[in-house]
């Protein structure tokens, strides 16, 4: 009996102690991405740096928030990513998981976060299913998605007269989603899909697939792949004279890092889409320069910028709520318009989609470039409403309720 009383007293004391500590809100952010494999230049340490910069710029300590940033490598494997996420949520006290490129891993983390009632701010993954069929009240899909890429790049190509398409599709969740969404945009604009080939991921040699694309006589070859696959296919398309033959390439997901890897000589004229380009205005340039100082001169891509922007918005919500309760914070994040130097003004929609404008970019000719990272010029700025999936067409179960 005595022992039981003691236990109760101890529990009460602990509860009281945590209650006191809660006055100063402590949050732990986990940056989960590829830190060693094909996508480690796209997310990797760069996204962790961006998250830390957001914490510093927010001046969290002065505002009574204690913020800790941790990072881990999911190796692009859903099982590895899931294990880390469970450990972070169950044992390490992580409140928010950030970044998570590779759609297959992101979809797994999406489900775990929902089960554990935490928050998932995705920046790196592309699949529009995160705010579609598999949308969750605990997830915000921040930076870009396959619908947006399809609308901006696909739409622009069709308008330029590229009305027959052949796809080279990376054979996993992301590639399939990107092909599906792009095909929808192409057909909607009066174009036609003449064929597609699923390429093993990752692949070294795309020459056979390019030859099939060439034989299809399609006007546009859509590259529904990313990272090293995109670099290899563009490099080899140049070698096989695909563009001289009158066909054009559409890189459906191209990061500034990929352009850098190709070199302007090979990549020039390629049209692609991003939601953030470091050289857009003075604010983005200033932030990118600070980022570059910590990353050995590298410029950020949209994924890194998205992590920064999402952390900033999350911390603002926590500050306003004076609590890190996931439901309250999510409600606040969706109710408050977003505003930061990188993406400008925007909002978080009820299906978890972060809305902001997107850019149509074109890779510069070597003689137009003024420095090592001066790789693209902005052709057009597409308003958020025209680029992301409209709520009216959404198949997200959350949309009907709100």
């Amino acid at each position: 009996m005595n022992r039981g009383m003691l236990l109760v007293a101890a529990t009460a004391a602990t509860a009281f102690a945590t209650g006191v500590a809660e006055a100063q809100v402590t949050v732990k952010l986990g940056v989960l991405n590829d830190r060693s494999g094909v996508y480690s230049d796209i997310g990797g340490e760069g996204s962790a740096v961006a998250a830390r910069m957001a914490v510093e710029d927010f001046k969290a300590a002065e505002k009574g928030l204690k913020v800790e940033v941790v990072a881990a490598d999911h190796q692009n494997k859903p099982d590895v990513g899931s294990n880390i996420a469970r450990q972070w949520y169950d044992q390490d006290g992580v409140d928010v998981i950030l970044d998570v490129p590779t759609s297959s891993v992101a979809l797994a983390i999406n489900q775990i976060t929902r089960d554990k009632n935490k928050i998932f701010l995705n920046s790196g993954a592309a699949s529009s299913d995160l705010t579609g069929a598999q949308c969750s009240p605990n997830t915000v899909h921040w930076t870009y998605d396959t619908v947006q890429l399809a609308n901006v790049t696909g739409g622009a190509m069709v308008r330029q007269g590229g009305n027959t398409w052949f796809f080279l599709t990376a054979d996993y969740a992301f590639g399939h989603a990107l092909e599906r969404d792009t095909a929808a945009v192409v057909t909607k604009n009066g174009g036609k899909i003449v064929g597609s080939v699923k390429t093993p991921f990752p692949s070294n040699d795309f020459s056979s697939f390019l030859l099939q694309a060439q034989a299809s006589k399609a006007k546009v070859i859509g590259l529904a792949n990313a990272g090293g696959d995109t670099v290899n296919s563009i490099k080899q398309a140049a070698e096989f004279g695909i563009t001289q033959g009158g066909q054009s390439l559409a890189g459906m997901l191209v990061f500034v890092n990929d352009v850098q890897a190709l070199g302007l000589k090979t990549a020039q004229g390629l049209v692609f889409s991003e939601t953030f380009y470091w050289d857009e205005n003075d604010a983005t340039r200033a932030w990118s320069r600070r980022y570059g100082e910590r990353m050995g001169g590298k410029m950020p891509n949209m994924t890194n910028a998205g992590v920064y922007s999402s952390v900033l918005h999350y911390l603002k919500a926590v500050e306003a709520e004076k609590s890190k309760d996931p439901q309250k914070v999510m409600a606040r994040m969706k109710a408050t318009p977003t505003d930061d130097p990188l993406f400008g003004k925007g909002s978080v929609r009820s299906d978890g989609r972060k809305m902001h404008d997107a850019f149509l970019l074109e890779v510069k000719k070597p003689e137009e470039s003024k420095g090592p990272w001066d790789v693209a010029k902005i052709l057009a700025k597409v308003p958020a409403e025209q680029t992301f999936r409209p709520l009216a067409e959404s198949n997200c179960p959350l949309v009907g309720k709100s």
Binding site: G37, D41, P200, L211, E239, G245, Q260, A261, L262
Partner: protein, 354 residues
């Protein structure tokens, strides 16, 4: 124009030719592996990393020294081959001789040097290279002036140790390059003499791809000829069978073996330089390829030189055909062939049963 299984013949010939081109990379890489395994009994898992180093050295020569493709074709294999020789002298040979003190000296000196250099605040990758250099010098001095050790020469340690050692080396090498250059890759162009292509009627063949096939066949033939048909090759093969006896005839067997390893590594680097203009030059480029190449070696028969070359080209063709009929399986088909071959001939197509 006629069709075969619903595929126009022109497309099929095109795909076969592309298969041959991929096959030439498989052939060159598996040749190097076969030479190293056949003559040193080492399963060289660092082969992929050395292939990657070849491509990177070509890039470094161009960007830091302004040396173009053709000189890189000669210099990169030599530089990477020298690196291979250092690897053999400091780790593989001591392991085979059961005399690992030299490796310990090397590792401990390197680690100490690394601690000091990190403290001084040098760039980590450069610091790593410098400390490894210091380690190599220390190990060489120790070897020269330290206690003498007579190797028995004809004992072979289990393959597994060599495999683990080279696998670890591959991870370290890849890690250093990743740390310095990231994984996105580096640009490397096709040399101007080989740009453009020929219209063969059924397909457009880039000149560079034609050059790759020709160069690879030439290198494979020369290697086969030297090892199977010359006196030097006879020494090598004899030294593998019975090192003690060959040493008794006055042949410097340890030197011969070290040079052979250097040569095998050089072959990997040559393949790397050939690959640089057409594949993405990144630290993982070898890791993706090496598993396939090992399957090629196993199908051809471990250690069989002719076998590795023929299987390399043949499997390139099989893979090319799969890409036409069922592209999703093209990453798997080589392993299916491997299973079938091992079921029927456990020693591989050209291997000798022990």
């Amino acid at each position: 124009m006629f069709t075969i299984f619903g595929i126009p013949s022109a497309a099929l010939f095109g795909q076969l030719l592309l298969g041959l081109i991929n096959g030439s990379f498989y052939a060159m890489l598996s040749l190097g592996l076969a030479v190293i395994f056949g003559l040193l009994n080492i399963i060289n898992f660092a082969h992929g990393a050395q292939y990657m180093m070849g491509a990177f050295v070509a890039w470094m020569l161009l960007n830091y020294a302004g040396i173009g493709y053709w000189w890189a074709l000669l210099l990169a294999p030599i530089l990477v081959g020298l690196f291979g020789i250092l690897l053999d002298r400091n780790f593989i040979k001591p392991m085979n001789d059961n005399n690992t003190k030299r490796s310990f000296v090397m590792v401990i000196t390197s680690v100490l040097a690394m601690v000091v250099i990190t403290y001084l605040g040098v760039n980590p990758s450069l610091g790593f290279a410098i400390s490894v250099g210091i380690g190599v010098v220390a190990a060489t001095l120790w070897d020269r002036f330290g206690p003498t050790f007579v190797a028995l020469g004809d004992q072979h340690v289990d393959h597994l140790y060599g495999l683990l050692l080279t696998f670890g080396m591959a991870l370290i090498i890849q890690g250093v390059f990743r740390n310095q250059y990231g994984v996105s890759g580096l640009p490397y162009g096709i040399p101007p003499q080989l740009s453009g292509g020929q219209n063969l009627g059924f397909m457009f063949l880039p000149n560079y791809r034609g050059w790759v096939v020709a160069a690879s066949m030439f290198v494979c033939l020369v290697t086969w000829f030297v090892i199977e048909k010359t006196k030097l090759g006879a020494y090598l093969r004899a030294a593998t069978e019975n090192p003690t006896l060959v040493q008794a005839f006055g042949v410097n067997v340890p030197l011969l073996i070290t040079l052979t390893y250097g040569f095998g590594v050089g072959l990997a680097a040559l393949a790397g330089v050939l690959a640089a203009p057409i594949y993405s030059v990144n630290p993982n480029m070898g890791a993706d390829l090496i598993i396939v190449v090992f399957a090629v070696v196993v199908i051809g028969g471990m250690g069989s030189i002719l076998g590795s070359v023929i299987t390399g080209f043949a499997l390139g063709l099989v893979e090319g055909l799969t890409k036409v009929f069922y592209p999703e399986a093209s990453a798997t088909v080589i392993f299916v062939v491997m299973v079938l071959v091992l079921l029927v001939k456990p020693a591989g197509l050209f291997g000798r049963a022990q």
